[in-house]
């Protein structure tokens, strides 16, 4: 027990006095959590929805376009900035570039006419007229955002046309005793949204911090491969392992002496990153992280991620010849695991085949486990499949490490 306490003390001192290790294990994930939680806040949080600027040119002189804009202003996601009535598409384009605005909407002269005419009806001159709305889009805007604006425009236009139709049959409605204004009243959304949780809780709204903390926590826990493998390789290169072996310290004790301190270091990471989510992110205007209901589940998934990361570190240390090699192998593997496992890009935005490929990354298993706890209010039994997978993979890597070390006869 005394030996293990001094080993723990030694490893803690080595880590805390290594500025690179502290940066990689604690500073980097803390900064990532802060940045990602605040940057993606509006993607998840309805109360802080971002408003996208849209330049608007109203070339229509009719009343319908005024009504259209009034309706559009009710959509909180967009803010319209009007240009002169005589501005053409070229002028709108120039303003988009100058003011760095992603959208410009041109309401054509035929807008009011279009609203009241019947479907398929030709124009005054008998030919088919152009579309009443023209949308200029910066190519950097993603398709999803374009679709949101287009749907909003189409929806409002359809409503205007419906209102115009109601006005056109006003006489019939009056004689039938039907209130025209009631028919025109804007429909509330008829789609009810419910978030699905594994546990009993149902009041939690997914937020950026709920997504960021698990993702960057798993990423940082795996980054333990760099300091751990470097320490191990340095000990081997400096003859410290040989000295320890001459002191009758067994291979098992050496490996345990590495695993236990780093399990503690991973545990500190978990506590610290959760604390940042709960206490620091709200201080900067983000939503506070809310914890799940299962402490047991949190401990189980944390321990399994930690075991897997430490085993990977030991395997890298036994394969790599130098600290430079270990840093490169560990760093590259972590980035690939992170990209593949949904750390950098959430899995739900990936295409199907990439989501299938994500299963190859142990970070993905860990992330799913943490999301089960933080987002879906899961219990220990819910994270058991991910935890077991991580423990099994860790066990396989640890066995390989022992075989390699025995062959090398250095430890």
């Amino acid at each position: 027990m005394t030996k293990m306490l001094y080993t723990l003390k030694k490893e803690f001192l080595l880590i805390t006095r290594d500025i690179h290790a502290v940066t990689v294990l604690f500073v980097m994930p803390a900064v990532f959590i802060m940045i990602m939680s605040l940057a993606m806040r509006d993607l998840f949080d309805l109360h802080h929805a971002v408003s996208i600027d849209v330049l608007a040119v109203n070339r229509d002189t009719g009343k319908r376009s005024e009504a259209f804009f009034k309706a559009m202003k009710e959509i909180p996601a967009f803010t319209f900035h009007f240009l002169d009535r005589d501005a053409d598409a070229e002028k709108a384009k120039e303003q988009m570039l100058t003011r760095d605005v992603k959208f410009a909407l041109i309401i054509e002269e035929n807008f009011s006419t279009f609203v009241v005419k019947e479907k398929g009806e030709k124009g005054e001159k008998g030919e088919k007229e152009g579309k009443p709305l023209e949308l200029l889009v910066d190519p950097s805007v993603n398709v999803q955002t374009q679709m949101v604006l287009r749907s909003a425009l189409d929806g409002k236009l359809a409503q205007l046309r419906g209102d115009a139709f109601i006005d056109s049959i006003g006489g019939f409605l009056d004689s039938a005793g039907i209130d025209k204004e009631k028919l025109k009243a804007a429909e509330e959304s008829q789609v009810a949204v419910h978030y699905i949780y594994k546990g009993g809780r149902s009041f939690k709204i997914p937020s950026a911090v709920q997504q960021s903390v698990p993702a960057w926590l798993v990423f940082s826990m795996f980054f333990i491969v760099i300091p751990l493998s470097n320490t191990f390789i340095s000990e081997r290169g400096q003859g410290t392992l040989m000295r320890l072996k001459s002191m009758n310290v067994s291979r098992f004790a050496l490996i345990t002496g590495k695993m236990v301190p780093y399990l503690f270091i991973n545990a500190i990471q978990v506590i610290m990153m959760i604390a940042i989510g709960v206490l620091v992110v709200p201080f900067f205007g983000g939503t506070a992280l809310t914890l799940g209901d299962s402490l047991g589940g949190l401990v189980l998934i944390s321990a399994s991620v930690s075991f897997c990361a430490i085993s990977l570190a030991l395997l890298i240390a036994s394969v790599a010849g130098t600290t430079e090699q270990a840093t490169t192998i560990g760093g590259v593997l972590n980035i690939i695991f992170g990209a593949l496992g949904g750390i950098m890009v959430p899995k739900f935005v990936m295409p199907g085949f990439m989501q299938a490929l994500a299963i190859a990354s142990p970070m993905s298993w860990g992330l799913e486990g943490f999301l089960d706890i933080f987002l879906r209010s899961g219990s220990a039994s819910d994270v058991l499949p991910e935890s077991l997978s991580l423990f099994i993979l860790g066990g396989v890597m640890l066995t390989l490490t022992m075989i390699l070390l025995r062959r090398q006869k250095e430890v």
């Binding site: 005394t2 080993t7 003390k9 030694k10 080595l14 290169g237 410290t240 072996k245 002191m247 006869k409």
Partner: protein
């Protein structure tokens, strides 16, 4: 203290130790010499239990290494050639950690740490981080860690590599002191012949996995096959006169005369030349040889890579 019989070890079908037989007296300092790749480190690694042997028998203090390796390891300490400790820890933290691995704790650990700090003369910098130490300070710490368990046998693998003359002298003094006061048996490897000559009681030379010489230091250094005459400056004419003499070898101001049946004739001839040419004789040593000369002769002076 240490008995090695018929010890063999191979790596990848290459014989590294070939039927090694050697005994080391209790309380003696044995200097182990050998060119690079001769088998010194392998021999020490086997003795310290770091690697296994292929065959042979080793007993330490009457204990069989095969049967009670752990017990033997607790009696020994190994100070590697490399600086085998943690540079980001202080000297004190290093001693504390390695001491705890020897099972020391509480008052006993403190006592042993104090002894080692004193032995390494590290009082002034014991709480400083090791990566701020000079080469000599690091070497002293490396040695001090090896003294934590009060070893009966101390294996020192080139303990003075890369240090200044003062630290080197201090380390050698410390080694002698430990041997004298605690009767610690010490196996000492070094490439510095003068160090071995200075500290050893017995000397063993290993080459290509075989012990080719092992004896008391004095016996080795006096069991020579030449008479050495050290002279003052010798002119070219004197050199030209001596060179044709069979059994006479000239090395600057040192004349070696082979000890064979022609010794008296050769001595007479050499001294006649010295008299005629006015060469000053500084010293005459019967049967003396430096360790380096002996070592190079025994191991052939070809390069070992």
């Amino acid at each position: 203290m240490i008995e090695i019989r018929n010890l063999c070890k191979s790596y990848n079908r290459k014989t590294v130790l070939d039927n090694v037989n050697i005994s080391v007296r209790r309380g003696s300092i044995m200097g182990l010499l050998g060119p690079n790749g001769a088998g010194k480190t392998t021999l020490i690694s086997i003795l310290t239990g770091v690697i296994g042997k292929d065959s042979g028998n080793i007993t330490v203090g009457g204990i069989d290494l095969d049967r009670e390796a752990g017990r033997i390891q607790s009696m020994c300490s190994y100070v590697p050639q490399t600086l085998a400790f943690y540079a980001r820890l202080s000297a004190c933290e290093n001693l504390e950690y390695f001491g705890s691995l020897w099972g020391l704790k509480g008052k006993k650990l403190k006592e042993r740490m104090e002894f080692c700090i004193d032995a390494g003369s590290m009082q002034a910098f014991v709480d400083k981080r090791v990566d701020t130490f000079s080469g000599g300070m690091k070497r002293r710490l490396n040695l001090a860690i090896g003294l934590l368990n009060e070893p009966e046998i101390l294996y020192l693998d080139e303990p003075t590599v890369g240090v200044d003359a003062q630290s080197r002298n201090y380390i050698l003094e410390t080694i002698r002191k430990i041997n004298r006061e605690r009767k610690t048996t010490i196996i000492y490897t070094s490439h510095y012949m003068d160090e071995i000559e200075q500290v050893s009681d017995e000397i063993a030379v290993i080459d290509e996995g075989r012990i080719i010489l092992h004896d008391e230091k004095q016996a080795i250094l006096t069991r020579a096959d030449a008479v050495l005459i050290r002279v003052g400056q010798m002119g070219e004419d004197a050199v030209n006169e001596l060179q044709p003499c069979e059994g006479v070898r000239i090395e600057k101001e040192r004349i070696h005369i082979k000890r064979d049946e022609h010794l008296s004739e050769n001595m007479a001839a050499v001294f006649a030349v010295f008299h005629d040419r006015g060469v000053r004789v500084d010293d005459v040593v019967f049967g003396h040889k430096t360790l380096e000369e002996l070592f190079l002769k025994l191991t052939n002076d070809r390069l070992r890579d």
